[in-house]
Amino acid sequence: MVAGRMLTRHRRRERVVRTWLPIGFFLALALFPFYWMAITSIKPNAELYNKNVMPLVVHAPTLKHYIDLLTETNFLVWTWNTMLVAVAATAISLVLGTMLAYPLARMRFAGAGLIAMTVAAIYLVPQPLLFIPLADVINRLHLGNTLTSVILTYPTMLVPFCAWLLLGYFKTVPKELEEAARIDGASRLQTMWRVILPLCVPAFVSAGIFSFTLSQNEFLYALIFLTKSTVRTVPVGVITELIRGDVFYWGQLMAAALLGSIPVALLYSFFVEQYVTGLTTGSVKG
């Protein structure tokens, strides 16, 4: 019995060392910046900029930075813009992505392989390769400082991405369903719209979440195309307008960073399983 108890104690210690020590390390590393963001946003300036106060806890919490952020800056406008752009770009990308992926997954025609390769390659083209000519194109279309400029350009990354993710899922629907519909006299379009696509809702959810997240995260195009405060998105507004010359702006900045992260974090917490599945299908930008 004594030997048994010693064994479990030994086991428990091994468990702490092998499991919780590394997990704890990675968790602390991943979460500390968010913790620091959160407590900074509720510290009064007197505390933030006093080096004699222990920095890791809040002594006199205040919502002043949040109130200032919402009343003195365009933060709410940026939030609205970001949502609008993300929803519109996601909708466009899902529709165009489906139109691209469906034939590639389920039809046999000459050139399918080439198109599939091209779509995969476009998905991997990073924005810095295209932003200079695109800026000129946007200018010539007189779309500078309009939300249309980013609603049109985000799908250049999102359409190939959605197509790639949907293609894999479309392939898994059994051929027999399609044949049965065809024998019943359904055209190809009817088969697609009434039979196959309704079975692929989980894939649309995954692709939609990712597109939405990527749209919220986009920075370079928004920085270049949107230079007026009232049309900016949250990341660009925060970086270009809230970082100011004087020192005492960090509380407000951290409040903005935290609030700006909440939509994505909230969506993610509801759909974490779909997110992880989408991620591990090997189809997300890192």
């Binding site: 198109i115 810095p128 920085l223 994505v264 997300v284």
Partner: protein
Amino acid sequence: MSVASEHALVIGSAARRRSTLAALLDRQSVFSWLIMAPPLLFLAALVGYPFLYGILLSLQHRTVGHAGTFVGLKNFATNLRDPVFWQVAANTFVYTGAATVLKVIGGLSLALAMNQHFRMKNLVRALLLLPFIVPTALSTVAWLWMLDPAFSVVNRLMVALGWPRPGPSWLGHPGLAMFSIVVINTWRGLPFYGVTLLAGLQTIPPELYEAATIDGAGGWQRLRWVTLPLLRPIILIVTLFSVIFTFADFQLVYVLTHGGPQNATNLFATYAFDIAMGAGQLGLGAAVALVMLPALALLIVALTLYMRRE
């Protein structure tokens, strides 16, 4: 011929025409190309055209608001003679290389740590992914504050532990600034590696480990001879993927250092931005961006072919 029969004939041929049209639309190739046409045109207009136009721009002397003049390869020659360009090239390779090595090793450790049985595993996994899903510009701003010259929490903790005041200037010293952006890029990208590699680990059949253990293999040997060989395809894909986007990284560096101090952290993407958007030299900037193309094309082709084979 009576009017009625003529009428019937007309209806008949219309129906036949309709049915031939329907039959045509029902052909797999016709249906496919018709339905793919809108997305393909969209991509041709906003990816294909800008890509070719970018090549044209790189061959022009072109400033904002002025018409371009063709100068051949002069922009590329100007870049190659500029020591800053070479510094930027070196920075980009150091940044990509260092961050990738850290992410592969760290991501593998993270995946191995997660591939054990413990309570609240799903919650832990969800929390660990946060750095990857939160908008990069916003989480990077938290790091900017954590490394602030006057109030850095990192330095205050180091000083509390006995480091001489005021502590390192994380973003102000050239070498340290490169180190900092590499660490922060790793922080952001690590969960992607960890979660993808974890999914790979979970596909390895336990019998293989049991067999290895019976054959007398210790922990390291199992890692070396069972885990790593079976994980190689997924490590390769994840790494190629992340190398492409680390190589062309923009926002993290833009937020933290703007490429400074003295270009020590300037990468191809931020440098191209400086030249094209800051100085208004569109042609020269396009040339800088296009310098990324050979390396990127190689990576993209490799990854596309590899994913296709899988």
